[in-house]
């Protein structure tokens, strides 16, 4: 997983409550065999018109927000189905940080699992950040994870909370797998012990 330390990027505002995972990625795109490549389906129903062409009014279809890496929304972001395809789609689109007053639990967890930083900030602060974001590329937001602040274009710093363990995982770019692999010595010695105690344990080899 990519490390998350600081991010200075264009932010896009989606001033809506309850943006569910179906909106983030509709069910018909789940028959895939991949977790990458879902970016083109992110926000499908808002991003494209029924004839398949881009909806020019949708924020992520406009410059400079087409390149947004931060998303700011209202309450209960990521509610609905538990599909891990939702963070996969956001990440593939280029989003590394989502900011909202509140999140649905599973989506919140799934973000961390995929290297996306979800930040909870009060609704008034989200309003301010949304208004900052309208200045587009003239107004990049900076997320400083080590110091736990969002830096607004005028230099004002907004602190945020994060679980220390999750912060560590993001800073080091560790997913659960990376974390477990830190116990490589223990796993190796376990394997060694079993090979000694149960030498009859067969392996699966096909010719």
């Amino acid at each position: 997983m990519e490390k998350f330390t600081t991010l200075s990027a264009v932010a896009a505002a989606l001033p809506e409550d309850n943006i569910d995972t179906d909106k983030i990625i509709p069910a018909r795109f789940l028959k895939t065999t991949q977790r990458t490549g879902l970016g083109k389906y992110a926000f499908d129903s808002m991003r494209y018109r029924p004839d398949g062409s881009e909806n020019p009014d949708f924020i992520l279809n406009k410059a400079p927000w087409r390149n947004a890496e931060i998303l700011v929304t209202y309450d209960n972001l990521g509610c609905g189905s538990s599909r891990e395809h939702a963070p996969w789609a956001l990440l593939d689109f280029g989003i590394r940080c989502v900011i909202a007053p509140s999140f649905a639990d599973i989506f919140f967890n799934n973000c961390f699992k995929n290297g996306i930083l979800p930040i909870k900030l009060p609704r008034e602060v989200c309003d301010q950040l949304m208004s900052d974001s309208t200045m587009g590329s003239n107004a990049r937001l900076t997320i400083d994870l080590p110091r736990q602040v969002v830096i607004r274009p005028d230099g004002e710093e907004v602190p945020f909370e994060i679980d220390p363990f999750r912060k560590h995982m993001l800073l080091e770019g560790l997913d659960d797998i990376g974390q477990t692999l830190q116990h490589e010595t223990e796993i190796k010695s376990f394997e060694h012990k079993v090979a000694g105690e149960r030498p009859w344990m067969p392996t699966i080899t096909l010719d």
Binding site: Q34, I177, V194, P199, W200, P202, I204
Partner: protein, 467 residues
């Protein structure tokens, strides 16, 4: 050391390390893969530049999406074809032992594992599929996992887990003639409910369970999930060891003897603590089936459909009525005699040779009733071959059953074998949720003998009347 259960012992044997928050890194002996839940995990490995840690402890097979008709033709549905081709590319790239579609060893992953001697007593076994619990019949700890966890096991050969609680379901006594393992398990689920095992691993014990062959024990453990349990287990004994001996991937010769010595130490110690205990009398169990859209809606075949009006709890009453409406049944009607349209004998619950023999015993010399479509889908290519050697295929074909290739088939209707709306199906599978076997389809879960009886009479029938 304090007395321990079978589950405790297998758990203790596999803990690599317990982390400060109480989660354990649990070592996994066998990782089984199929085409539906593995592609993103392989891709994750590839993206992170990680290796599959132990291909020689991993096995892959295609089952969920495969056609069970003529396999020499290309697979028609593009998405199914893509998932199968993706698995084939992945197993090649990562060096995973694989049973391809056209191999005789191909079949439902939960049939293939034990049959090949890949699933062995005392092991931890995982697969991205909830019915992994089936392998618990070997006396192993076997459970289903999600796609992120599949990737975790691929990369680390471990999984992060907290221990489950211990539950024991004891069935003492002798089963009446014509009563099978499926009836026992339906009776258990009917008794404890679909949440009865939540948070627990269930050990099935008692003389009636010990008296079952391995196929029967697999049927029982398979449906532990429908009882809400994390996994189900049966203590390994001589029946288990006789089954394992000489399987292709089982230990051989002296290794086998040493393995058996170890496996004998696994049984639950006298006085070990169970958080929950339930017991049933074998004699009380009749051939059973479900009437509703939850696996706990169990009736003996001699019973009548329950009346929602008798249910004091309002929300349950509403739910019961909804089930009756969906299933097209009337409160108070005798369940026997209800006409069926389709009969499905197959799935990881009941598609082994013993299941086919039980069905053939009922079907022999009879004809599938007019207007009924009846299909037999063996659990693996090897089961199919064995049945053909015994002439069971001819019994079924003469009776008018379809004789198919191995796979999940109508258990979940991912391939073209589906029910159409309103069709009633007597099915040996494990889930009867609305639409499980096809949108609007009505499923009655029952044993292979009962399914065969429904096929030849055209209605739900007490199989004991036919043997």
């Amino acid at each position: 050391m304090a007395p321990r259960t079978l589950f405790d012992k297998i758990w203790d044997h596999h803990v690599v390390e317990t982390l400060p928050d109480g989660t354990s890194i649990l070592y996994i002996d066998r990782h089984l893969l199929h085409e539906v839940t593995s592609p993103q995990a392989f891709e994750g490995l590839r993206l992170a530049g990680r290796k599959l840690r132990h291909p020689e402890m991993t096995m892959a097979v295609v089952d969920h999406n495969v056609p069970t008709s003529d396999r020499t033709k290309p697979i028609e549905e593009p998405e199914s074809r893509n998932q199968i081709e993706t698995l084939e590319r992945n197993v090649k790239e990562f060096g995973v032992p694989y049973f391809p579609l056209l191999s005789a060893s191909q079949g439902i992953v939960h049939v293939v594992g034990p049959e090949q001697g890949i699933s062995l007593p005392g092991m931890t076994i995982v697969c991205g599929d909830s019915h992994t619990s089936t392998h618990g019949a070997m006396g192993s700890l076997a459970f289903g996992i999600g796609t992120s966890e599949v990737e975790h096991v691929m990369a680390t050969q471990t999984i992060l887990q907290r221990p489950a609680k211990n539950m024991r379901v004891t069935v003492e006594g002798e089963l009446a003639p014509g009563v099978s393992a499926k009836d026992v398990m339906l009776a258990i689920i009917g008794h404890i409910g679909t949440a009865g095992g939540t948070g627990h691993v269930i050990e099935f014990a008692g003389s009636a369970i010990r008296g079952l062959d391995m196929a029967g024990r697999m049927t029982i453990c398979n449906m532990s999930i429908e009882a809400g349990a994390r996994a189900g287990l049966v203590a390994p004994d001589d029946t288990t060891f006789d089954y394992v001996r000489n399987r292709p991937f089982a230990p051989k010769g002296e290794d086998f003897e040493n393995a058996v010595t170890f496996w004998r130490t696994l049984a639950t110690d006298d006085g070990a603590h169970f958080d929950k205990e339930v017991s049933l009398r074998a004699e009380d169990i009749a051939p059973s089936l479900t009437w509703g859209t939850s696996p706990e809606t169990v009736l003996p075949i001699t019973g009548t459909v329950p009346d929602p009006a008798q249910e004091p709890d309002e929300s349950k009453r509403v739910q019961m009525q909804r089930m009756l409406d969906y299933m097209g049944l009337e409160a108070g009607q005798k369940i026997a005699g209800t006409p069926v349209d389709v009969v499905f004998i197959g799935s990881c619950t009941n598609s082994r040779i013993e299941d086919l023999r039980a069905a053939a015993q009922v079907a022999a010399g009879r004809k599938v009733a007019d207007g009924v479509r009846a299909m037999i889908v063996p659990g693996s290519g090897l089961v199919k071959m064995q049945a053909e050697e015994e002439g069971l295929d001819q019994i079924f074909l003469d009776a008018g059953f379809e004789w198919r290739e191995a796979g999940c088939s109508m258990c979940l209707g991912m391939n073209p074998d589906k029910l159409t709306p309103g069709q009633r199906c007597a099915s040996t599978s494990n889930r009867n949720f609305e639409g499980r076997q096809g949108p609007g389809g009505r499923t009655h879960l029952l044993s292979p003998a009962m399914a065969a009886a429904a096929a030849v009479t055209g209605c739900l029938t007490d199989s004991r009347e036919l043997v």
